[in-house]
């Protein structure tokens, strides 16, 4: 297996975990959350400051511990959840629709600006680096076999998260979240505590984001403000969830394959297409912007022409509609 294939599968699995988390917030709960990628970033940053050890001279960042990787991941996830709890409890209390989106857009910019400008936190624009092959020396892995190990780990974690989401999807909690998406008033009339339910879903989604971020940190071995942007990354995630079918976890997998892996990898070959090759020399940004262009177009076109996605969510049909029950003699 080539190193190229390994990187696709690892990135795809991590991207898949992010998409599954976003599906909880947007697919089930129905909130267009623009702060989502900040939880990924917090997960990645926290994993790094917990594992790479104390800062040396010009660099400065908080903590600087050398915890074992799994423990660091655990704390990073908890931190992401805590940040989501704060943002969510402000944004979800009274706000819905675009007002919720605008406040979360503000939140992600605040996180981005703090991480990038406030140097004592995560060393500002330089960011963090130095997490090399976490857990590799436990098993005595060399560089190449470590790549296989990380790929296997990411895939296994993706499978685990998928299984968990599959359980939640059909559970009372999963159903209750969908009711909020469909009709919040009706859910409230049936005695659901809307705010608490939404907040629970939100924090669950953020936990997956933080977890994916922690894996991403191991994959990149570094994280800094140029590794993410407040809006760019989350749009790609939304496009994946939308294309696959929001609300349906199988759909999300399809979306990740199409958008995360398909678009990502097909644009990688653009410079090799005869005639386009020269463009690459003219403008090094061309790959990134082609990707962004495709992602944006797909988002708009799917919203307009196939909002349910390629693999739509199954609509639950009431087997005992109220009308029937009324007609049945007591």
């Amino acid at each position: 297996m080539s190193a190229y294939l390994i990187s696709i599968i690892t990135e795809g699995a991590i991207f898949g975990i992010m998409a599954l988390g976003l599906n909880v917030i947007w697919g089930w709960s129905g909130d267009f959350d623009l702060a989502y990628y900040s939880y990924v970033a917090v997960g990645a940053y926290m994993t790094l400051v917990l594992t790479i050890g104390p800062a040396t001279a010009p660099a400065q960042y908080i903590l600087g511990l050398q915890l074992p990787y799994p423990l660091a991941v655990f704390i990073a996830v908890i931190t992401s959840m805590a940040v989501a709890l704060v943002i969510g409890s402000i944004a979800l209390r009274h706000l819905r629709g675009i007002y919720f989106s605008i406040v979360t857009l503000g939140a992600v910019y605040v996180v981005y600006v703090l991480a990038g400008q406030y140097v004592p936190l995560f060393d500002g624009y330089n960011g963090l680096s130095g997490l090399f092959d976490p857990m590799g020396d436990w098993f005595g892995l060399d560089y190449l076999s470590y790549q296989y190990f990380l790929m296997g780990l990411s895939l296994a974690m993706f499978a685990l998260v998928f299984l968990l989401m599959w359980r939640i999807s059909g559970s009372r909690f999963g159903m209750a979240l969908r009711t909020l998406r469909e009709d919040e008033r009706a859910a409230a009339a049936f005695g659901r505590d809307i705010y608490r339910l939404k907040l629970k879903g939100y924090v669950l989604g953020a936990a997956l984001a933080g977890f994916a971020g922690a894996l991403f940190a191991a994959y990149l071995s570094a994280f800094n403000p140029s590794a993410w942007s407040p809006v760019g990354e989350v749009i790609a995630l939304y496009a994946a969830v939308l294309v696959g079918g929001r609300g349906n976890i199988w759909g999300v997998v399809v979306g990740v394959l199409v958008m995360g892996v398909g678009v990502q990898e097909s644009t990688r070959w653009l410079p090799h297409v005869p005639g386009l090759g020269e463009l690459d020399n003219v403008n090094p940004q061309i790959l990134l912007s082609m990707r962004g262009l495709i992602v944006g177009l797909v988002l708009v076109l799917f919203l307009r022409f196939r909002p349910q996605g390629l693999l739509p969510e199954r609509r639950y049909v009431d087997s005992q509609p109220a009308a029937l029950i009324v007609q049945t003699p007591a």
């Binding site: 989106s101 503000g106 910019y109 760019g232 061309i286």
Partner: protein, 300 residues
């Protein structure tokens, strides 16, 4: 004291540009009930058009006209290609919000493909600064502030005195009712987008001038501040939005110049964070804007 007046002078320039951008945004909102996230790209288009025309002709006035026209056409295209069809299709405001975000992404990347992502330096000689009343302003500053006031006045006349303005107000208050009375709501909305685009395109030109450079992402950054001003003033309300823009513009310039207790000076690079802190506060406390007494409901 001098320092404070100097800062206030800058603040008036920022507030003027912000007011133009925000009033255009709020007009777009008024006729469609949709927040156009790709509004910032109208400003970017204006900046590029101004730069290209200025290079060819060497005339700042030609550049301003080109910026305006480019903005108007881009806004019209946004409405007829995406926002209009989505509204006729019956999409919810949130869905259109997402679609315009996607569109903004498309436009940014198209601009990168054509012009590259690097900053383009673009500035007009501002001239020597002079004492104007209590403030020190350059002639360029004066032109920016003066043109903003003039544009606002003309816009006020259009909205309050013309037949089109009447139709615009009707559509913004009740689209269905307006249609019943024979107003072509889609056409009025399209024309309003064109008008808003003219203003926003010009705002993009003066913003590029006052910043001194721009790139394909430049409008989006300013859109975030525009959004703060418009929401603070009340989405869809022109006068409230203008006031919101002036307040936000002044806060953004004044805060970095102040030595605050505990934190000391806050660098201007935190501008976006400050803007959003204001925004979040306004939305939470007075979601319909600062200047209205309407009560908030949970389902907003």
């Amino acid at each position: 004291m001098n320092e404070a007046l100097l800062t206030l002078g800058f603040a008036m320039v920022t507030a003027s540009i912000l007011a133009l951008s925000a009033v255009a945004f709020t007009l777009e909102y008024a006729v469609t009930n949709v927040a156009n996230v790709s509004h910032g790209e109208i400003l970017t288009a204006g900046a590029y058009a101004a730069f290209l025309v200025h290079q060819r002709t060497g005339s700042a006035i030609a550049a301003a006209i080109a910026a305006s026209l480019a903005g108007g056409l881009v806004a019209l295209a946004m409405h007829s290609a995406v926002i209009g069809p989505f509204i006729r299709f019956g999409a919810s405001p949130t869905i259109v919000f997402i679609a315009t975000l996607g569109m903004s992404f498309v436009i940014q990347n198209v601009l990168v493909l054509f012009f590259g992502a690097a900053n383009v330096a673009y500035s007009i000689d501002p001239g020597a600064s002079r004492q104007v009343g209590p403030f020190r302003l350059t002639p360029l500053d004066g032109e920016i502030i003066g043109s903003a006031v003039a544009i606002t006045f003309v816009l006020y006349l259009i909205i309050s005195r013309t037949r089109f303005g009447k139709a615009l107000r009707a559509v913004s208050q009740n689209r269905e009712l307006a249609r019943v009375t024979g107003i072509n709501a889609t056409r009025v909305a399209g024309a309003t987008f064109f008008l808003a685009g003219l203003i926003a395109g010009y705002a993009g030109f003066v913003l590029a001038e006052s910043v001194g450079s721009f790139n394909p992402y430049f409008g989006f950054g300013f859109f975030l501040i525009t959004l703060t001003a418009a929401v603070a003033g009340g989405l869809g309300r022109a006068v409230g939005t203008m006031t919101g823009a002036v307040i936000v513009g002044i806060i953004l310039e004044v805060v970095p110049a102040l030595k605050l207790p505990f934190v000391g000076y806050i660098s201007a690079s935190y501008n976006l964070a400050i803007a959003f802190a204001i925004l979040a506060l306004v939305i939470l406390v007075r979601p319909r804007g600062l200047f209205t007494n309407a009560r908030r409901t949970v389902f907003e």
